[in-house]
């Protein structure tokens, strides 16, 4: 086994272990920290796949933004030391069953299908190439989705302020 694949298995173990502990841990703060490790593992996977820009974006947006936001909201909404109630056995059983069926179905489909590897030369996914394509208005450019996403982010920001604002009349 080469070092390259060994690193892949280590990263995969980090992602899956972190994700599994995040959804099963009964302390909500620990859950958030396990999610953090899982997201860092995914950033590592992007580095492993040689998408450096995506890995940087993953670390900045998820690890630096979303997880910090989640931890803040945990502190704002409840005492972090309190255990969450264990989910009902019934619910765990049926959720596990549904997940197992879906997983096996997807896995059999996946393993039966043979993917034809591409022979075309690999394009360089550098930051400048991404930036040029992102702002290109020619065919295959992404200027329109870029603008739509920026409007969406603006709308989400204003929406958050409107939802979470505390008017003086509220108790």
């Amino acid at each position: 086994m080469s070092v390259h694949s060994l690193i892949f298995y280590l990263i995969a173990a980090l992602i899956l272990g972190g994700g599994f502990m995040a959804v099963t841990s009964r302390k909500i703060f620990r859950s958030a920290v396990y999610l953090l490790f899982s997201l860092i593992g995914i950033a590592g996977l992007y580095f492993w796949m040689e998408y450096e820009f995506l890995a940087a974006v993953q670390i900045i947006v998820y690890v630096g933004g979303i997880v910090v936001l989640i931890i803040f909201s945990i502190f704002l909404t409840q005492t972090a030391s309190l255990d969450m109630p264990r989910p009902k056995l019934n619910r765990r059983l049926f959720a596990g069953l549904a997940v197992l069926c879906g997983f096996l179905l997807t896995l059999t489909t996946l393993l039966q299908h043979t993917f034809l590897p591409s022979l075309e030369p690999a394009a360089e996914v550098s930051v400048s190439a991404i930036g040029l394509k992102m702002l290109s208005v020619e065919e295959g450019g992404y200027a329109l989705p870029f603008e739509v996403v920026s409007i969406l982010l603006l709308a989400a920001m204003i929406g958050c302020i409107v939802i979470a604002i505390k008017t003086p009349g509220d108790k």
Binding site: A12, I28, F53, P87, P121, A122, C160
Partner: protein, 104 residues
């Protein structure tokens, strides 16, 4: 199992996806459900990048889809947390069973 190919990456993302589904179905806490949704979105991102890398290395569509998914996930998390904090302020609970008063 010497060379890591597309299949290994897809198995990884499938497993992560169903871990997220399990968390979404079993937990009743809104914040943990939000975390499960983040896991789902991340597994989809891994899929996009794996297909881009192994099947269409000359194109960059998968990279752009991933970037847009990350942007939308950030907006979604921010709106969801605003709603959760507002709900907690009114009802002192972030259990999903108590959230049905939102429709009144």
């Amino acid at each position: 199992m010497n060379q890591i190919g597309l299949t290994e990456l897809l198995i990884l993302s499938t497993t992560l996806f169903f871990i997220g589904i399990y968390g979404f179905l079993t937990r009743r806490n809104l914040i943990v459900m939000l975390m499960s949704v983040e896991l789902l979105l991340n597994s989809v991102n891994i899929n996009f990048l794996a297909f881009n890398k192994y099947l269409f290395p000359g194109k960059m569509e998968g990279v752009f889809f991933s970037i847009f998914i990350i942007a939308i996930a950030a907006a979604e998390a921010a709106v969801a947390i605003a709603i959760i904090i507002n709900l907690y302020r009114r009802h002192k609970s972030i259990d999903v069973e108590d959230a049905e008063v939102m429709k009144d």
